[in-house]
Amino acid sequence: MKSLSSLVLASMLAVGCNHGDRNKSNTQQADQRNLNGAGYTLSESGSFTHKENEMSGSGTVVFTIPTKDKDNSYSLTFTLADAGSLTLTANAGRGLRSGISIQFTRAGAALKASLKSGSTEVDISSKFRKIDSSKEMIFQIDMHNSESPTHILVWANPTEFSEDSALFNSETDAEAPGQGGGNIWGLVLVNAVVTSAATAEPKFEE
């Protein structure tokens, strides 16, 4: 009987410990960095530096917590050195494979933009001509991956979120080249400074 009660107690303790571990954020694990509280891992880094509220330089950043829903919105605040770029990859598998991406590249004060899926790339720069890429850029990007191909909307310095106010709408401007195949998201920085990167529920709902 004594051994049985010991076994029950040990089991309860084991369950309790396990529960505690589950509630411990991944951001508390070793080798984890975070941007404004969002944990990420870094791979393929060049001259990458990070602070609590900033990451800068060059490197591939994979955010630890996945996006459960197929449709999500991403807010990005960043600056680019000339010829620098920032790529957001969403709905990807591990290692940012098989995702749907949007890339912003600075060319002087102009901004080039493109959508990528696999080996297919679609140039959407014409929709970003009004953006001065030598200054800080703030974009809100909806990626509705429940649609095929992914429905992507981009707003610059947004105050309202409608199809009419979108700088780019893949339904009317240029179709996305595919659809993502996962729940992971991340960024690829090339001479970029990112001060904010976060996910939320889609800003636009039909």
């Binding site: 459960k68 494979r97 659809q179």
Partner: protein, 360 residues
């Protein structure tokens, strides 16, 4: 013997309709056989709490115009147009366009054209015929807010067995699946589906329909989709009192050609008590989880979305329905703050003209 005859009469009645939605039972207008109906479904959703996603508007979600008639002595035809809200405007689009028959082969019905795929429970009904206002999470996630429409062919066969067994199989183009605003791309394997349904009537007052479902397709980019589902509905009626229990459980496997497998599971269960022919009170429970969800390091992330949706329905007749519902959903994900979405929903439905008889 009397019991056997009663059962067979019931089978015949159910079979006539469950075989297809063809117009052998449609009301005849002016001797031409042509019937016209319109259904208008207006809904409103209002915020309860600051995190609610409700739009605080009342809008016509759908206005449907349907024409149906016998084409000749073998075939029937159905054409329906529906206006949906898109970017603030209501635009009519083709909903269903079907040629169908129950007379070609005894015990078999077929339909060809554009239609709601004959799988599950909710997907076989137009939204204005659902017993609640909004789609359960598992349905909107796997079939869209309204259901999966596509163009193809479907046959149903009432297997001559001692018990009721109806087998439905279909193949559709599969260029798109669910919500899309384009014609899509040619899939590697078109959408194909199978439903095996049975019906039990243990007493005069009680009927129970059950179904097992499979749906599959491989998209142009190589993503393999497989859905496995169970659906069931039980109805009990005595005098003016009634009881409805309806539910579905679905498992979806998505296997991208490159990328991670996505496995999701969800259910809903709706129970409704009818206190008279006019007044009903129901309660829906929803559950949904992405069971394959992992973080960037490959560690499993526990997650679930639950909802409770009490609903009150008032019908002045079968042609006018008013509903009031409260929806409270909680979206939990490990390492994330719970998201709570509460809203009050209103609905009014009216039907003009002849409306086709419904399946059980």
């Amino acid at each position: 013997m009397a019991q056997w005859m009663r059962r067979n009469q019931l089978f015949l009645g159910i079979t006539l309709w469950s075989l297809s939605q063809c117009s052998s039972l449609f009301a005849d207008v002016n001797g031409t056989g042509l019937s016209v109906s319109a259904a208008v479904d207006a809904v409103g959703a209002f915020k309860v709490g600051k995190d609610s996603k409700a739009k605080d508007t009342l809008e016509v979600r759908e206005a449907e115009l349907s024409l149906y008639a016998p084409i000749d002595h073998i075939f029937d035809g159905i054409l329906s147009l529906a206006a949906h809200r898109e970017s603030g405007m209501s635009l009519f689009e083709l909903h269903e366009a079907v040629i169908c028959s129950t007379k070609l082969i005894p015990g078999m019905s077929l339909r060809v054209g554009q239609y709601f795929l004959g799988v599950g429970r909710l997907n076989r009904f137009h939204r204005h015929d659902w017993p609640f206002i909004s789609a359960p999470k598992v349905f909107s996630e796997f079939f869209g807010e309204e259901g999966v429409l596509d163009t193809g062919g479907e046959i149903s066969y009432l297997v001559p067995t001692l018990f009721f067994l109806d087998i439905t199989a279909g193949v559709t183009n599969g260029w798109v699946y669910g919500h899309a605003h384009n014609e899509g791309k040619k899939p590697k394997t078109p959408t194909h589906y199978l439903r095996m349904g049975t019906f039990l009537d243990p007493s005069d007052d009680l009927g129970l329909a059950l179904g097992g479902n499979y749906l599959g397709r491989i998209s142009s980019d190589g993503t393999k989709t497989q859905l496995f589902g169970l659906d069931g509905v039980a109805k009990w009626n005595r005098k003016s009192m009634s009881l409805l229990v309806q539910g579905e459980t679905w498992l979806r496997q998505l296997e991208p050609e490159a990328g991670d497998e996505d496995v999701s599971l969800g259910s809903y269960l709706y129970q409704q008590v009818g206190f008279s022919k006019n007044f009903y009170a129901g309660f829906r429970l929803d559950y949904f989880t992405v069971s394959s969800l992992k973080d960037a390091t490959g560690k499993k992330i526990h997650n679930a979305e639950y909802a409770v949706v009490p609903t009150v329905t008032y019908k002045t007749s079968e042609f006018a329905t008013f509903r009031l519902a409260y929806s409270n959903s909680i979206n939990t994900q490990e390492y994330q703050t719970d998201k709570i979405n509460q809203s009050v929903q209103l609905q009014s439905i009216f039907i003009l003209g002849a409306h086709p008889t419904h399946d059980f």
